[in-house]
């Protein structure tokens, strides 16, 4: 009866989607994945994060894996970060693996991070 049964295929129940028009002020915590296409002023803690093209994030990030194709201003702590050519990034990066595509706007301080999750 309720919409529970007709969950779309291929869409994980654990994934959160912040759509284009949506604006969030505050923090987001998830043990799953987040796709950000809107605007977030605040911190995001999650497993995998995709910041889509035209999306804006102002705040810090703590993820396992982050793909940035939009605008991010803030600090990133992540195992892996991929910054695509459409991205504008400004802030500190603390990561084990970083990939920056040619053409990306990056103004950042890079810090190599050890595997352990503790950081300061």
């Amino acid at each position: 009866m309720f919409e529970k049964g007709k969950k779309e295929e291929g869409e994980e129940a654990t994934a959160s989607l912040i759509d284009e028009d949506m604006r969030i002020t505050g923090s987001v915590t998830s043990s799953g994945d987040i796709i950000l296409a809107g605007i977030v002023d605040g911190d995001i803690n999650c497993r995998n994060l995709v910041v889509e093209n035209n999306a804006t994030l102002t705040g810090s990030l703590n993820t396992t894996e982050a793909v940035i194709a939009g605008n991010v201003k803030g600090d990133v702590v992540s195992d892996r970060v991929q910054i695509l050519d459409t991205a504008h990034f400004e802030g500190d990066l603390k990561c084990t693996g970083i990939e920056v595509e040619a053409g990306a706007h990056v103004a950042a301080r890079f810090n190599k991070r050890r595997k352990s999750k503790s950081s300061s």
């Binding site: 009866m1 309720f2 919409e3 529970k4 779309e8 869409e11 994980e12 129940a13 654990t14 994934a15 959160s16 989607l17 912040i18 759509d19 284009e20 028009d21 949506m22 604006r23 969030i24 002020t25 505050g26 923090s27 987001v28 915590t29 998830s30 043990s31 799953g32 994945d33 987040i34 809107g38 605040g42 999650c46």
Partner: protein
């Protein structure tokens, strides 16, 4: 389905303000003030905060002040706080422990049951006449 549908997954937690949403589906925990055209709180969803929405489907738990055109409380719904509505549907099993107020807008003259354009009215700073 459509791209302009925001989803808060089952293990996600939001704290803050959410605005400018067309349609949002909540399976996780949200503590926020929200304005949306359509809000759907899934069976595992939990929402605390103020809601302004045209259509609300509640299958999870809600606590706060809700102002909505239509509210549908499904059988797993648990509602606390206050709800202001123009039309309300309750499934068998829905738990309402809240203040329930009909027509949160300017009081409609008795016998005249025209409840149109809730959004336009609401935007123009409704005078609280209660």
């Amino acid at each position: 389905m459509d791209k302009s549908k925001a989803v808060i997954g089952a293990d996600a937690k939001f704290v803050g303000t959410i605005s400018n949403v067309k349609s949002i589906e909540i399976e996780g925990v949200v503590e926020a003030d929200l304005k949306a055209e359509k809000l759907s709180i899934g069976a595992s969803g939990k929402f605390v905060g103020e809601v302004n929405s045209d259509l609300v489907v509640i299958g999870g738990s809600y606590d706060g002040t809700m102002r909505a055109g239509s509210i549908w409380a499904t059988q797993t719904a648990q509602i606390a706080g206050e709800i202001h509505y123009q039309s309300l549907q309750m499934d068998r099993g829905a738990a309402l422990n809240c203040r329930v107020v009909h027509n949160w807008e300017d009081p409609v003259v008795a016998g005249e049951s025209e409840a149109e354009e809730p959004v336009a009215e609401a935007d123009a700073e409704p005078e609280a006449k209660q």
